[in-house]
Amino acid sequence: MSAPVLALSGLTRHFGGLVALDALDMRVERGQIVGLIGPNGSGKTTSFNVLTGIYAASAGRAEFLGRDITNLRAQAVYEAGIARTFQRSRLCLPLSIFDNIMVGNHRRLEHGLWFNLFSRRAFARQFETAFEDARELVRVFDAPLAGRMFDAVGALPMIDRRRIEICRALISRPQLLLLDEPSAGMTEEETRELMDDILEIRGRIAGLSIVIIEHEMGVIERITDRCVVLNFGRKIAEGAYREVAADRQVQEAYLGVE
């Protein structure tokens, strides 16, 4: 059997005396969608931040496709093939849709000074290819949006911003996509639309694995293959949604049942 896409063992992160993430073990197999759930402050986003090199791990190990990526710099994690979105949308609002997606396309674009300043013909060719590529991707999410590639992101409604953020993460063809609460600030209807898009994307990109942090249990039930439940930084349950939802510890911690 091939190595899992992601294997975390004992991943830990302290902030002073606070243990935000306590010895997390987790595996994501190729093509899986894994839900990461738990109450506020249970360490879900911290695990993403440790994984993507924003925070250093205090202990433990993270492997991506069999390669040790613990404490790599954020840039190196991205180069390896992990892309993410953020809980609070972190798009560059004054820039256009296309510009924002190109930020995510960084590893596939030529960044030499000479190329960019003086080989404008070669640049124009690369630009055309990148544009077609980005428009194709946006079209999967929303066809009208693909006709507005040079509009400022700041003028778009929340759902379109989420779509662009996911496009920004997907444009570089990552193997693993980390989605940090994509439904935040959206209506039920919008959330359903976005989840349809995500499922469609997974169908189109062979072997794409996704870890998704979500509060909407409907979303989790619908799209995930497996869930990991965190509480106070510790994993308290793991399995299919129906199994973990029936778990007494999970109900106590998270679903608010006495």
Binding site: T52, G53, I54, R73, A74, Q75, V77, Y78, E79, A83, R84, F86, R90, L91, C92, L93, P94, L95, S96, D99, M102, V103, G104, H106, R107, L109, E110, H111, L113, N116, L117, F118, R120, F123, A124, F127, F131, R135, M149, F150, D151, A152, R168, S172
Partner: protein, 385 residues
């Protein structure tokens, strides 16, 4: 989708012609009342043009037909200086505007694109000036190389600031550069080798066998010697403008903007923040230094009082006034800020007050500047199929 027709060029040409006519009238105006009259007329004209929607086609010509409009602008400037071909003062003004413009293009890359604050632009300009003074007095280095050396030394001096600038953000980075600017002037004042408070004199610039400080005549028409410097300054400004524009319209431009807007997100998409900040800072300082070298040769005399903190603030206010990150805005604002106090002797003494008032008014009523930066247009005239 059918291909949209190309934007017509003529509204841009008409606008350039009108601006040139205004500039000539303004420069020709003898007394303060005439100057104020010309200014008022221009202001009314702009407001009327905006109301009637005549401004939009001109703006579209500049946006969609940029390569052609760049040439039109150069021609317009050449027409303007042809009017004053034997008059020292207006030519010196134009040369100064072009030098300031070049420095502000450097600031645009630093502050407008990558978000690195630089409140020591005058110090980097001064580094280029003093480099030119020393090299032209003590070596026989060809003067074209002196310009490059001015840029190189400014970039090199800037590199001592890189570590503190990278480690600090926002206001703190600004304080680092302010401190450097103050140090620079003090250093010049106590340094006797560099002339101390008295400053240094420079010999005439020589290029291609021409001595720039001699008046000359072509086909019986007398030209002021400043014409040499103005044309050289124009060449330098055009070069800096081309580099700035291409940088903006490239993947590097996207990365610099991303760094300015969100460092964490940028890092998560592979952008090496320190590398690009260093590139932007160094490139900007190089432009300031090269412009400085030419400035010193043009003035023929430099002293520490030319490079005060106040002058650095003037550069920053040009950027704010013109529209942060817009190279065209920097050109317009440089012209306003440099020429206005010279023509209105009345306000000369209060010019810093005037600048401050202008910046406050702009930030209050038009925070994105006179010419707000448009969205990135990678290939002018390009339309998606």
């Amino acid at each position: 989708m059918s291909a949209a027709p190309r934007a017509p060029l003529w509204p841009g040409i008409v606008a350039a012609a009108l601006v040139t006519a205004f500039a000539v009238a303004f420069m020709w105006a003898e007394n303060e009342w005439e100057v104020v009259g010309v200014l008022a007329a221009a202001l009314v004209a702009v407001l009327v043009a905006r109301r009637t929607g005549w401004l939009a086609p001109a703006a579209r010509a500049f946006e969609m037909r940029e390569p052609a409009m760049n040439r039109v602008t150069i021609v317009a400037l050449l027409v303007f200086i042809a009017f004053f071909h034997d008059d020292h003062f207006p030519l010196l003004m134009v040369g100064t505007v072009l030098v300031y413009f070049t420095v502000c293009l450097g600031l645009t890359i630093q502050f407008g694109y990558s978000g690195v604050m630089n409140f020591a632009a005058a110090a980097f300009l001064g580094t280029g000036c003093y480099t030119a003074a020393v090299l032209s007095a003590h070596t026989s280095l060809p003067h074209l190389l002196v310009l490059a050396a001015g840029g190189a030394v400014a970039a090199l001096v800037g590199s001592i600031l890189i570590l503190p600038v990278l480690r600090t953000r926002g206001h703190y980075a600004a304080v680092v550069t302010i401190a450097f600017g103050l140090l620079f002037r003090t250093f010049l004042e106590v340094n006797d080798t560099l002339g101390g408070p008295q400053g240094l004199k420079l010999p005439s610039m020589k290029l291609l066998g021409m001595t720039f400080n001699d008046n000359f005549s072509v086909a019986g028409i007398e030209f002021s010697f400043y014409m040499h410097y103005v044309l050289t300054a124009l060449a330098l400004a055009v070069l800096a403008f081309a580099v700035t524009r291409r940088l903006e319209r490239s993947w590097i431009g996207v990365s610099l903007d991303a760094i300015r807007l969100d460092e964490t997100a940028s890092a998560c998409f592979g952008i090496h923040i320190a590398r690009w900040k260093i590139v932007a800072f160094t490139l900007g300082n190089f432009m300031a230094g090269a412009a400085g070298a030419l400035y010193a040769l043009m003035l023929g005399f430099i002293a520490p009082t030319n490079f005060t903190f106040g002058d650095s603030l003037v550069m920053v206010s040009i950027i704010l006034l013109g529209g942060i990150g817009n190279a065209w805005g920097a050109a317009l604002a440089a012209a306003i800020v440099v020429v206005l106090p010279e023509k209105l002797q009345l306000i000369q003494e209060y010019r810093f007050l005037l600048y401050a008032a202008m910046v406050i008014v702009v930030l209050l009523y038009r925070p994105e500047g006179l010419l707000p930066r448009p969205l990135r247009n990678y290939l002018p005239g390009w339309r998606p199929r």
